[in-house]
């Protein structure tokens, strides 16, 4: 750890995107690439640290979804301390972790939809960036802005009650959790003063869905056609095929809905998923080994989850899932902008799950930690807000981490984001040799649909530091524009 290393930029989380678009002599788009120029060193500098430190250290990857990293690392450590995964923990341990996780999904999705995506939808892609931001939303659509802020607050309060802090808590420890809820804490979420109670959260989640569906009706072309392309989809699902964002087996379906990864135990993920490195980006390219590097890529995240699961095990979200699936006649949905729709269904599902967990007395139990026979290797997976998150660790006999491999959600979406950018580039650029303001905005909107971690900077005020270069066939830069 004490090596003299300067990491600059600090992590891959402080988002900075770079896009290059290659044109031929006839000003036709040949290729476009989204470069992630940040370097992440976590897999290296965790080496030598004690295994029980991993859930607290690795979550520093991110300030937006640290809970996902915290829990994925803790799940891997459950394996190492012999507690198994998922149902291996005590009921209190597992349910507290689930509550933390659904609180996280709820707040992260609310942040994305209300703070980041809603300005594009409310003001239009081509609107002045000075208005197209959360301040603009607050000024012109006060109710929606307030809902966004309060829903995020509710999720953050759940995280604080389960993890100890709203950001970078310590609640999950190998084999369980370090606290349960008190009755007062539980009641404050169930019957809290308006609007901070779970019933209001469910009501507002339904309201946001209705808002989106209305918008979809009025803007069908944008929502259905923008950055739409077929792909495979991957996610965890519960053993019976239900949506389960905390634990399950790994499933992938192709663009026709045929299973291509058959509900495998994720401890064996490395037998099924490979990672390719390319010299123009720090982000790796995961692929399904059986299909190969070229065609084995897949999408993860809310859209993928809607396509992989058979049903959602909460009644209100299940109704919405049925509508969602019916829109594409039961076939997988490949429309990037439908990611927003899927995200809103998950907000509703998370709210319903939180209510179910809060009403379960196990959440106030005292049996917090389970341990069994120690092993030297563990894999922890879960469905983070942005998609499937992989944590894999190996330790030595002195309890020090020897190897860590992380495949973060955004990495899984690497090729899909590149394709989304290419689809937009072709639509807006073919025949032109300059980057228009509309083109710049459209690329942003396409990338933003995936809510990638690189847009963490976006989480400030709806701006993504993005650099777009237009390159001719001889690699000369024809045009360059910045935003953010």
């Amino acid at each position: 750890m004490p090596k003299k290393i300067t990491i600059e930029p600090v992590t891959r989380v402080e988002g900075h995107g770079k896009v290059t678009i290659h044109m031929d002599d006839d000003n036709q788009v040949v290729q476009s690439r989204l470069h992630i120029v940040e370097f992440r060193g976590f897999e290296r500098f965790i080496q030598g640290r004690p295994y029980w430190e991993a859930p607290v250290l690795v979550q520093r990857l991110c300030g937006i979804c640290p809970v996902s990293h915290h829990l994925a690392a803790a799940k891997a450590m459950d394996m190492i301390v012999g507690a198994g995964t998922g149902d291996g923990l005590s009921p209190t341990g597992e349910k507290m972790r689930r509550l933390m996780h659904y609180g996280q999904i709820f707040q992260s999705h609310a942040l994305h939809f209300f703070h980041l995506a809603s300005p594009d939808l409310l003001f239009g892609i081509n609107a002045d960036p000075n208005i197209r931001n959360i301040i603009g939303v607050a000024l012109e659509h006060k109710d929606l802005a307030v809902q966004g802020v309060m829903m995020r607050k509710f999720g953050q309060e759940i995280i604080q009650a389960t993890a100890g802090k709203k950001i970078h808590g310590t609640g999950a420890i190998p084999g369980g959790i370090n606290k349960s809820l008190s009755k007062e804490e539980r009641d404050s979420f169930l019957k809290g003063e308006d609007p901070l109670n779970i019933d209001k959260m469910i009501e507002w989640s339904l309201g946001a869905l209705e808002f989106f569906k209305g918008y979809h009706k009025a803007n069908r072309e944008l929502i259905d056609d923008f950055a739409s392309f077929p792909s495979s989809h991957l996610s965890l699902v519960r053993k019976d095929g239900a949506m389960d964002l905390y634990h399950g087996v790994l499933r992938a379906v192709d663009s026709e809905g045929k299973k291509i990864l058959h509900d495998i135990d994720y401890q064996d993920y490395a037998s099924y998923i490979g990672e390719e490195v390319k010299n123009w980006t720090y982000m790796k390219f995961p692929f399904l080994k059986e299909i190969g590097k070229q065609d084995g890529w897949y999408r993860v995240g809310p859209l993928a989850r809607m396509n992989t699961v058979d049903f959602i095990p909460t009644p209100l979200a299940q109704k919405e899932h049925e509508l969602f699936r019916a829109y594409t006649n039961g076939k997988p949905n490949g429309m990037s902008m439908h990611m927003h729709w899927a995200r809103l269904i998950e907000i509703l599902h998370s709210a319903e799950m939180m209510k179910e967990l809060l009403n379960d007395d196990d959440i106030m139990g005292n049996d917090l930690v389970v341990k069994g026979n120690k092993t030297l290797e563990g894999v922890g997976l879960l469905e983070a807000p942005r998609g499937t998150l992989f944590h894999h660790y190996r330790i030595n006999r002195n309890d020090q981490i020897e190897m860590a491999n992380l495949i973060v959600s955004t990495t899984n979406n690497n090729i899909p984001m590149n394709l989304a950018v290419e689809s937009v580039a072709k639509k807006y650029l073919n025949g032109h040799a300059v980057i228009s303001e509309g083109m710049l905005n459209a690329v942003e909107v396409a990338i933003r649909a995936y809510d990638p971690c690189l847009s963490c900077a976006t989480h400030a005020l709806g701006k993504m530091p993005l650099e777009i270069s237009l390159v001719d066939k001889d690699s000369n830069i024809i045009d360059k524009k910045y935003s953010g």
Binding site: M1, P2, R49, P50, E53, V56, G164, T170, N178, D399
Partner: protein
Amino acid sequence: MEKKIAHFTIDNKECTATTGVSIINAARENGIFIPTLCHYEGVKPAGSCRVCTVKVNKRHLTACTTPVAEGMEIEVDTAELNDLRSSVIELLFTEGNHYCPACEKSGNCELQALAYRFGIMAPRFPYQFNERDVDASHPKIYHDHNRCILCKRCIRIIKDEKDLPAGSQGRSIFAFNQRAKKVKIKLDDRLGKELSDELAQKAMDICPVGSILVKETGFKTPIGQRKFDKEAISLDNSINLKAMKEAHHE
């Protein structure tokens, strides 16, 4: 023999204490907190951290090693001395490799608590990034030299007292190894092997930082219930007050 009472002042306040007790203890008896990182009640003071530096009759002296005497004029809480203490704490932060965000001692760490007490936002000195190793070979103790401030508490307090004649001080289980810049604390090869669970826990508890850790117990205390989560380090919650009470009780 009757104990002799000394009359002295701390920051112009009239105080009394038994002649010969250390200034740090005399101050405590009069309700005045002098911060320290190395001193521990009941064991011989080392004067190694210098955080307890005070002025006695205009001279800088460490409060843990100086006995109180009649007529002393002691300065403790002055801007000059607090800046001096701050600078010592900042030097410790820059000399070691202290990463509070992932340290399991965070919230229970005296170095961190003093940094908060003195309002240190960033050190005024450049980080040294000294190369230190971690010794995880002991079955009970994870020893992180990156965080060690060489206070010698573990050497002075953690003793093997088995099979020793009554009144003997016991053998130190921890010891200095190597010299000068390379010096580090090491567990005695033979005595370390027999370290009991109780002594391992005590070693972790008396370590003012997160250098000595009992394996596989990290982060068990939730945020909000750790020692310095709600209150700054003070006379009421410093580790030495607890030790002093225990010593007096015994």
